[in-house]
Structure formats: structure tokens, C-alpha cells
């Protein structure tokens, strides 16, 4: 089972916590909005990705399970 990250760009207001918690995958653009360097989350980073998604103040970082029922 693998996990995939997405940003809801409408909900995101650029708090930038995700880039602090998951710098391996997320960096910030000049305006402070997250850029995902890869959508799929390597196995070793899943816990960190879950933490980043949960920490987002606007719930804009979405972590979806892929393979199986999730699209």
C-alpha cells in the first residue's frame, strides 16, 4: 500500500508547517505555498507525512492511500 500527497490549493493559505515537518518532499515557493517534489510518499516517510497532514491548520494537505479502493 502506498500513500499519495495532494494540496488543496484553495484551502491552502501558506502557513508553511508542512514544509517544516516534511522537508524531504515539500518545499515552499517564493510566496510561501508548498511545492510537492513528488506525489507518492516513500514508505519511510509515511509517518511524517501523516503528521504534516494532521498539522495543517487549514487541512489543505491531503494524504490518500493509493492502490486498492482509493482513486
Amino acid at each position: 500500500m502506498s500513500y499519495e500527497l495532494r494540496v488543496n490549493p484553495i484551502a491552502c493559505t501558506g502557513h508553511g508547517l508542512c514544509a517544516e515537518l516534511l522537508p524531504e518532499i515539500i518545499e515552499l515557493d517564493p510566496w510561501g505555498y508548498p511545492i510537492l517534489m513528488s506525489a507518492t510518499v516513500p514508505g519511510g516517510l509515511v509517518m511524517h507525512a501523516k503528521r504534516a497532514a494532521a498539522a495543517c491548520p487549514t487541512l489543505a494537505l491531503l494524504l490518500n492511500r493509493t492502490g486498492g479502493r482509493q482513486r
Binding site: N8, P9, I10, A11, C12, T13, G14, D29, P30, W31, G32, Y33, I35, R71
Partner: protein, 443 residues
């Protein structure tokens, strides 16, 4: 020679116009005139003899694709809406966002019954229980004439599902399909985050079919004449006809109905030919692309042909840019306009597009001391693909194509400053565009 061979060698007869056949250029076509021209609305509904999903089969076989910009196969879209859970909703999108396009407006102001026929047919095909026709709310005259047309049909009992008119907020992005659904659901009419997609969960959470009004007008004729008739013009890979708006430095700007596959050169000649040596054509619209004239001339008007040349069909817009214009200045003004039309919901669009507009404006009007092109090249990937809708991508695509088509020009501007073309009056129409004379930046 057999009869079959004879038939296949018969020279092509004049088969166009189809949609615009018998159209009056100064007044709206009444229901009676419409039925005299095209025949009565065929009964595909539950009361009719033919099953509604047969109409979807017919549309699929016809190869009709959306004429609003995305070019998605209409039949497939109808099928997925029909298969959705619950009663469907049909939405006709007549809110033409492109400032230079007027094909949808022409259809709605002159041939409303063709569009309304299409709405009713689509509604019966997907078994919808509600139908909307959306235009810009500021167009009160158009809304009044459409109301009259709907009333004419009500009196004749043509539309089993009543067609409701809706006036959308006056914004470029409000004609994006998720924005329309958002508005019909009581929101401010801004694009929304997907999923859910509108064909799964749209108006009132029901599967929603959003189609451009020209697509629906084609549907009205396909239901009457069949799929083989529809494929009788155009290319096997891109059948049928399409409405295109031609403007810029041509002799007779206007809306033309062409067979798909007509080359851009033929189209420009149809529109009276160039009035000044053209340096490039803007195809597709403000989300489209610049094609250098020498490349553009032989490119066929169809999704695949334009895509191969680096363009896009978009809403069927072609603007000829004369040699005396500065393509970069024109691009800068359009990007500035698009930046102002951002709904402001997504950071990369709200902050990225103004930054991009600044960079392109500097390149065009001031020059870049050799750094402007690199700056633009850095900004583009920071914007592209990072919005909820395609608005930011459209703007970056235009800039990308400008740097490609006018690469030598751009380098000249970057190193030596603006060319003589910036002194010419702007060509591409931008709403509120007269203020190029009292632009804040210029003062």
C-alpha cells in the same frame, strides 16, 4: 464504373453552413423560422418512440467533441452523467469568457432555439430533471431575449424539463464548469477543488452535464440528421463543423463556420485575407498559443493538428497579429488582464500571475538588461499546474508560446529595450482595455 464508385467520386457539395444556415444577421430567429429551417424537434424523450440512451449512442458515433475549449468527447461525458447516481442536471454554458470570442454570443442572440433544442435533447438523453442556461449576468438584453425564446417554447410545450436562465458573475473564471456549478449551488461562482468532479457530484450534489452552447447546437442537428450526416464534413479524426471567431489584421473579421481540418491559412482567406503582413496568429484564445505566421498557415483547425503545432483549439479563436504590432506587448497586456481575473483563491495564481505579468510587461516595455527572459522562465514552473482550475496554466501557456514564437524578438527586448511596435495601439481586446492610455504603471 459502378454506382458505388460514382457516388464516392461525387464532388463535395456545399454543405456549410450548418449551424448558421438561414441565420439572420440582425435579428433573433423565432421558433417558427427555426422549425422551418431545421424541422421540428425530434422526440427522443420518454414520450417519444426512441429510447433516450440511443441518442447517447448516436452522439458517441458522431464523434462530436466539446466546443468550449477542452474538446472532450460529448458522448462519453453524457454517458458518464447518465450512469451517475440520482437525477441528472444539464447546464448549458453560454458565458463566453474569452474577450475576443463571440461565437457563443452569436448563437444565443441569433439562434437561441438551436441551443435550447440541444438542452432539451441532452436533458432527455441523461434523464435530467433540471436544466439551466447560463450567460453573464451583465448581459441583461441577452437574458431578456432568451427569456422570450424560452416562453415561445413553453407555449408550444417543447421542453418537458423547464429551462432556467441564470446570470453568472462577471468574471473570466466564472465560466469554468466547477465555478458555474458553485454559483448554481448558491456560492459566489468561483472554481472549486476536485474531486468531486461535476459529472459525479455537481448542482445539488447530482451528476451534472456541463456543455458549451455550441456543442448543444450541434447536438440539436445530430438528433435530426444522424451521425453519418455529422461526419459528412470535417476530418475522420475530427468530424463536423465548428464556429470560429477570426479577428485582428484581416479584411472581414467575424464568426465563421468551418469544417474541422480547414487550415488556418484558408480560414484567414475566408475572413478577407490579411490586411497587413501577419507575423503570427493567436489560436485558441487567451489560453491558447502564438503560432508564427509561416508555421501557422498550413496548420489544420482541429485539436490534434493545432496541438501538434504547439497550439490549441480552445474556443475557436484566431487573431492575426500584423508585423507592426509588438507581440510581447500584446502578450503582456493579456497576461496582466488574466492576472486581474484570478479568483484569488489559490496562492500560486493570486501571487504568481501578477509577478508573471510584471516580468512580461518589463520585458516588453522596458527591456530586461539580459535577465528578463530567465526570470520569466523561472516563474512559469512555479505557477503551472498549481491552481484548482486551469486559469494559471492558461496564462503560462500563452507566455511560453510567446517566448517560443517570438524568441528573437524577446532577446532583442531583453538586451536592447522595447521595439517600435509598442507604440502601436493595442490589438488584442481586453475588457476595460481603453485604459491602456491611462495605465497606472505608465504614469
Amino acid at each position: 464504373m459502378t454506382a458505388l464508385e460514382l457516388r464516392s467520386r461525387r464532388p463535395p457539395v456545399l454543405r456549410l453552413p450548418r449551424l448558421l444556415a438561414g441565420m439572420s444577421y440582425h435579428t433573433v430567429t423565432s421558433l417558427r423560422e427555426h422549425e422551418r429551417q431545421h424541422g421540428p424537434l425530434p422526440a427522443w424523450g420518454s414520450s417519444g418512440r426512441q429510447r433516450p440512451d440511443r441518442l447517447i449512442d448516436l452522439v458517441e458515433r458522431s464523434g462530436l467533441t466539446g466546443r468550449g475549449g477542452a474538446g472532450f468527447p460529448t458522448g462519453r461525458k453524457m454517458r458518464s452523467v447518465a450512469a451517475g447516481a440520482g437525477k441528472a442536471v444539464v447546464v448549458a454554458n453560454g458565458a463566453e469568457g474569452e474577450p475576443a470570442s463571440c461565437k457563443d454570443r452569436l448563437l444565443l442572440t441569433r439562434l437561441p432555439h438551436l441551443v435550447l433544442d440541444g438542452i432539451t435533447l441532452a436533458a432527455s438523453a441523461v434523464r435530467a430533471s433540471a436544466a439551466y442556461l447560463c450567460v453573464h449576468g451583465r448581459e441583461t438584453g441577452l437574458l431578456a431575449s432568451l427569456e422570450h425564446a424560452v416562453a415561445e417554447r413553453e407555449a408550444a410545450g417543447l421542453d418537458p424539463v423547464p429551462i432556467q436562465l441564470a446570470g453568472l458573475p462577471d468574471r473570466y473564471v466564472s465560466s469554468e464548469q466547477s465555478a458555474i456549478v458553485h454559483y448554481l449551488n448558491g456560492g459566489p461562482g468561483k472554481p472549486t477543488f476536485a474531486p468531486p468532479r461535476t459529472h459525479e457530484r455537481g448542482v445539488n450534489g447530482r451528476p451534472t452535464l456541463v456543455n458549451n452552447v455550441e456543442t448543444l447546437a450541434h447536438l440539436a442537428l445530430i438528433a435530426r440528421h444522424g451521425d453519418r450526416w455529422f461526419r459528412g464534413v470535417g476530418l475522420p479524426s475530427a468530424p463536423g463543423s465548428a464556429l470560429v471567431t477570426v479577428s485582428g489584421a484581416v479584411g472581414r473579421p467575424g464568426v465563421y463556420e468551418i469544417a474541422l481540418g480547414t487550415t488556418l491559412g484558408q480560414l484567414v482567406m475566408m475572413a478577407g485575407g490579411p490586411v497587413e503582413r501577419p507575423q503570427a496568429l493567436l489560436v485558441g484564445g487567451y489560453f491558447g498559443a502564438w503560432l508564427p505566421a509561416e508555421v501557422a498557415w498550413k496548420v489544420p483547425m482541429c485539436q490534434a493538428g493545432l496541438k501538434a503545432a504547439g497550439g490549441a483549439m480552445g474556443a475557436g479563436l484566431v487573431i492575426a497579429l500584423p508585423d507592426s504590432s509588438c507581440a510581447l506587448a500584446e502578450t503582456a497586456r493579456v497576461v496582466r488582464y488574466l492576472a486581474g481575473e484570478s479568483a484569488g483563491q489559490c496562492g500560486p495564481c493570486a501571487f504568481g500571475l501578477p509577478a508573471l505579468a510584471d516580468a512580461v510587461t518589463d520585458l516588453a516595455y522596458i527591456g530586461g538588461r539580459g535577465r528578463a527572459i530567465d526570470e520569466i522562465a523561472c516563474l512559469v514552473p512555479l505557477i503551472e499546474g498549481r491552481g484548482a482550475c486551469r486559469h494559471p496554466d492558461g496564462a503560462t501557456q500563452l507566455v511560453r508560446s510567446a517566448l517560443w514564437a517570438f524568441g528573437a524578438d524577446a532577446r532583442w527586448h531583453d538586451h536592447r529595450g522595447p521595439c517600435a511596435g509598442v507604440r502601436r495601439a493595442p490589438l488584442l481586446p481586453v475588457p476595460g482595455g481603453a485604459d491602456w492610455l491611462d495605465d497606472e504603471d505608465a504614469l
